[in-house]
Assembly symmetry: C2
Homo-oligomer: 146 residues x 2
């Protein structure tokens, strides 16, 4: 069951400049940074609020590190902006199977590694009214809520 | 101070079909519907989770009711997808003034009426790394959290 807005994924060309914008303009702080080689991105997670399922909602700022990454291609086509939205669940495996059974294309056969050692999958935007949609299970409840 | 992701605004061509997708696929329920004549949209709010500031996070599904509305023009250019993101604050007036003073264009001179009698304003996407950004103060804490 999807129990929270886990994050909003925002594609940007310059991670430091975009972090600086969110920090200066709104006071949002960087909670976590990492490089995800498989996804081909550098990212910063800004924690916005806690959620009543014991997790949290973040902005995920994404800068591509390779021209052949999905985010680089998306940026070339669309420019900077909202790249995807993500819902949090306690069981990404069960939810992605149930959603696949409803006829929505799930992009990975098995969930892969996401931010902060979470397990993630994506749903095809053409099956979701144009919205690239991610499902996330946090590695550890403490990671999402501390 | 911005204390939550208040909602993700999603533009769609057929509100009932899109509500049906979110309900069938994820089990999300309609919390509220309304027509906003000034914004030129019909909308459905799907409540996803409560937030630790006493509010909640929603998906806001938006269908234009006029061809000259901002959402209709956006749909014609972009197709269905994420139209804007919104942060919740206890004081949209103070925050929009402070953000204007930092050089970000605020689209309204004074906040206007948003969903569920909230007061809202928008920030220019070109000043926000491509993200049309809304600030929201709920009408009543009970409205956002019940």
């Amino acid at each position: 069951m999807l129990t929270r807005i886990d994050h909003i994924g925002i594609a940007c060309r310059d991670l430091e400049a975009t972090v600086d914008f969110y920090s200066r303009t709104y006071g949002f702080q960087v909670f976590h940074t990492e490089v995800n080689q498989e996804q081909g991105v550098r990212e910063a997670m800004l924690r916005i609020n806690g959620t009543d399922d014991g997790g949290a909602s973040y902005l995920q700022l994404l800068e591509p590190i390779r021209e052949d990454s999905a985010v680089a291609k998306w940026l070339a086509k669309n420019g900077e902006g909202v790249h995807h939205i993500a819902f949090g669940t306690a069981d990404v495996d069960a939810d992605s199977e149930a959603i696949r059974d409803k006829g929505v294309r799930v992009l990975y056969d098995e969930p892969r590694r996401g931010s902060m050692d979470s397990r993630i999958t994506f749903l095809h935007p053409k099956d979701c009214h144009g919205v690239l949609t991610e499902l996330v299970t946090a590695a550890d409840p403490d990671t999402a809520s501390h």
